[in-house]
Structure formats: structure tokens, C-alpha cells
């Protein structure tokens, strides 16, 4: 796995997340690493990407010189629309999100805790960007995946016993994907279910402040499924 060992950590996370996306589903990707997930999906899968600002069927960047200011993603960047796309107002867009019509959201994280609760919208006294659509996404999506670098800059653990940062929602996320591991929050805590190529269980534990439950051998991430 020389290739994957050299892989950029963000690319590795995006690639692993892509394997979680099912055909013919409605998916919302957050800003940052989550945005990269779509690069690893086959356009023939029938996945429609929704953006909070009101598009179902967002496509990649338009051809050079053909972007238009009436069509952007939730970060304000120019995008295209795939054949079969639809555009909707903000109330409808959040109706899809809150109403349980969104099959999956992949979001970045600042902290995730033992209960599977996510904090990703502010660092009091340091950075207050606002929650944007994150609280609705985490509350309403059928499935929530947190895609993030395992530790903060400086090595501070981001997977912790209890979030010290303000929570995004009181909902257990479904999966945590980092460049070191795949972790599934369950009733009894955080299950370490995969490690990245070349990463040991002990290394994951050392970089994680929360307890990790390990049942039997932990397989290595399968990064071959995505394109």
C-alpha cells in the first residue's frame, strides 16, 4: 500500500468517506475535507449533492469562463448543476435537511466525544464563525459522518471524553473518519473499526483522549472501493 501510505491525509479521509456513499442518494458535503468526497465518486452512481443554499444536483466547477454568479455552493464558490438538478429556496432546502430527506451529510469537526456528540461551530473567545447550517444538518440528516484530521494542530486530541467546545447537536453521529482510523459511536462508546494503512491500534489510542472499544482484530481501511 505504498501509494496510500503516501496519500495526502485529507485525500485519504475523503476517499474513505466516499465508500460510505450509496447509489441514488441525496448527500450534503460540508466545507473543507468533505467537499473532496465527491471527487472519489462515479458520476454514474446517481448521487445528488445538495447544498444548503438551495441546489439539489450540484456539479463540479464549470468550464473555464463559464461560471455564473447565480450558481454557487454553500461556500460561495462557483459550481455547475448536473442534468436533473433542481433549485429551491432556503426554506425548502432546510425542509429537506430537517425533514429527514437527506440520506447523508459529511461534515468537518472540531471535537467529537465519547457519546458521539459533535462540536464544530465555535471556539469561545477565539473563533465564532456561527453555525450556518451545521446544527440543522446534524439534527436532521439520516446519517452523519464526521470527516476530520485526527488531532488538532499542536497534537491536541479532538476525540475526547466530553466535548469542551459548544455542541452542534445532541445527536450521536454515525461515523468518524480520520486519516488514522474509522470510529463508530454506539450506545456503549466509541468503537475503533478500522485503522489507516500503516497505523497501529496503539497509535490511534495514543492520539485519542476518549476510550476506544476494540473487538477482535481491527481491519485496515479498504480504500479500493472508491474510484
Amino acid at each position: 500500500m505504498t501509494e496510500t501510505e503516501k496519500m495526502d491525509p485529507k485525500e485519504l479521509i475523503a476517499r474513505r468517506c466516499a465508500a460510505e456513499v450509496k447509489p441514488h442518494t441525496l448527500v450534503n458535503l460540508g466545507i473543507g475535507i468533505p467537499t473532496l468526497v465527491s471527487d472519489h465518486l462515479d458520476e454514474g452512481m446517481g448521487v445528488f449533492f445538495q447544498a444548503e443554499n438551495g441546489v439539489v444536483g450540484m456539479g463540479r466547477r464549470p468550464p473555464e469562463g463559464m461560471s455564473d454568479r447565480h450558481l454557487t455552493d454553500a461556500g460561495g464558490s462557483f459550481v455547475s448543476a448536473v442534468p436533473g438538478a433542481s433549485t429551491i429556496d432556503s426554506a425548502f432546502s432546510f425542509g429537506l435537511i430537517r425533514g429527514g430527506h437527506l440520506d447523508l451529510t459529511v461534515l468537518g469537526g472540531l471535537q467529537v466525544d465519547q457519546r458521539g456528540y459533535l462540536a464544530n461551530w465555535m471556539i469561545p473567545g477565539v473563533y465564532v464563525p456561527g453555525m450556518g447550517g451545521a446544527m440543522d444538518l446534524v439534527t436532521g440528516a439520516k446519517r452523519v459522518i464526521v470527516a476530520m484530521i485526527h488531532s488538532a494542530k499542536g497534537g491536541q486530541p479532538k476525540i475526547v471524553p466530553e466535548c469542551s467546545l459548544p455542541l452542534t447537536a445532541e445527536r450521536r453521529v454515525d461515523l468518524i473518519v480520520t486519516e488514522m482510523a474509522v470510529i463508530r459511536p454506539e450506545d456503549d462508546g466509541l468503537h475503533l473499526i478500522e485503522t489507516a494503512p500503516g497505523v497501529t491500534v496503539a497509535e490511534v489510542r495514543a492520539a485519542t483522549a476518549a476510550d476506544l472499544i476494540v473487538r477482535g482484530d481491527v481491519p485496515e481501511m479498504d480504500l479500493s472501493r472508491s474510484c
Binding site: G57, A81, P83, G84, T87, I88, G95, G99, H101, T139
Partner: protein, 217 residues
Amino acid sequence: MYQALTVDEAVELIPDGASVMLSGFMGVGTPDRMVRALADAGKKDLTVIVNDAARPDRGVGPLVAARCLRKFIGSHIGLNPDVQEQMREGTLEVELVPQGTLVERIRAAGVGLGGVLTPTGLGTKVAEGKQVIEVEGKPYLLEPPLGADFALIAARSCDYVGNLTYMLTATNFNPIMALAGRVVIAEPEEIVPVGMIPPDAVKTPGALVNHVIRRVA
């Protein structure tokens, strides 16, 4: 996200006793082929959520006439003597809901809200037994969300990924009910290639539609 089904295949998906939303206003914008097939199939004990009882031969009428319903939830039944008769007999339970409250209760279920706070119905029979919530000094009735097992949608056009459009006043409850059925079945008048419905013209994104009824052969 959807499959094209025959009307009979779609009807088979709907079991006796199911709750079914049916769009339409006095039969305008009602999926008539589905209604007739459900009546012909002799479905029993359905709960139907629909704006009005229309007339015996229109809208939900054929389902009432065939005695497929156990419960009717809607805003108006004045022009369908079958409903009045079955209500008097005690074989059909009728829940009358103000029309604006009805559509907001359906929307609330569809968009994940916990209910509707409306001034409509305060001080009337509609308020009986319901909670009144005060917000900023004004009273509102708390009306619960209203979802259903199935939403049967009458569309003008449908493309291959299930995007729907509606025409003029045949729109009515359709786009709202398409949010609130656990299974959404669309009966379009025409099926067109992807791209024929521009993004801004789509009224119901295909992501909400589970099944599409084939066109008449």
C-alpha cells in the same frame, strides 16, 4: 431514486389500513388513475388525508363510494353526500381541519418541525382539547404534524430522475404532500427526458419521489 411502476404495481404497495395523502382540490390535481385503481382493488380501512371530499365521481370520491375509507382528514365535505351518509352511519370517521392548518400540519411533518402554532381556530370548536401556547403575548393553537405512509401526487410533468412540475391550480397540496409521505408515488401526465425541466421550474425534486407511475400505454 424511483422506479416506473404500473398503476396496479403501485396499488399493491399500499396495504389495507394504510394512511394515504391524496393531493387535489375539488378533484383538480388529484392522481385519478391511482384513486380508481385503489377503489377497484377494494382496499379497506384506509385513512385518507385530502383537502376535500370533492364529489362522488371526483377526487377522493370513488374511494368513498367503494367504502375503502375508515377515516377522512380534510377541510371540506359539503359536496359529497356519500361522506355525509357514511359519517351518519358511523362507518367513516371524519376529522375536519381548517385548510390553512391542514397544509401547515402536513408541511410540518414534511420539513421536520414539531407542529404548527396558528391563530386559526382559537375560540372555536377546532380549539377543543388543544393546547394554547403564548408567544410574545399572543395566543396560538398548537396543532401537531400530520404525515402519512403514502403520498399520492398528481404531476404535470416528470423527468427520468423524478423531478416534478405542476400546472396552475392543479398544484395545490401536491408539492407539500410530496414532502410528507414516507413513500411518495407520482402520477404524471407526461414523462420527459432529463433536462426538459430546467432546475428553476422543478417544484418537487426527484430526491423526494420514490416511484413514478408509467404513462398509459
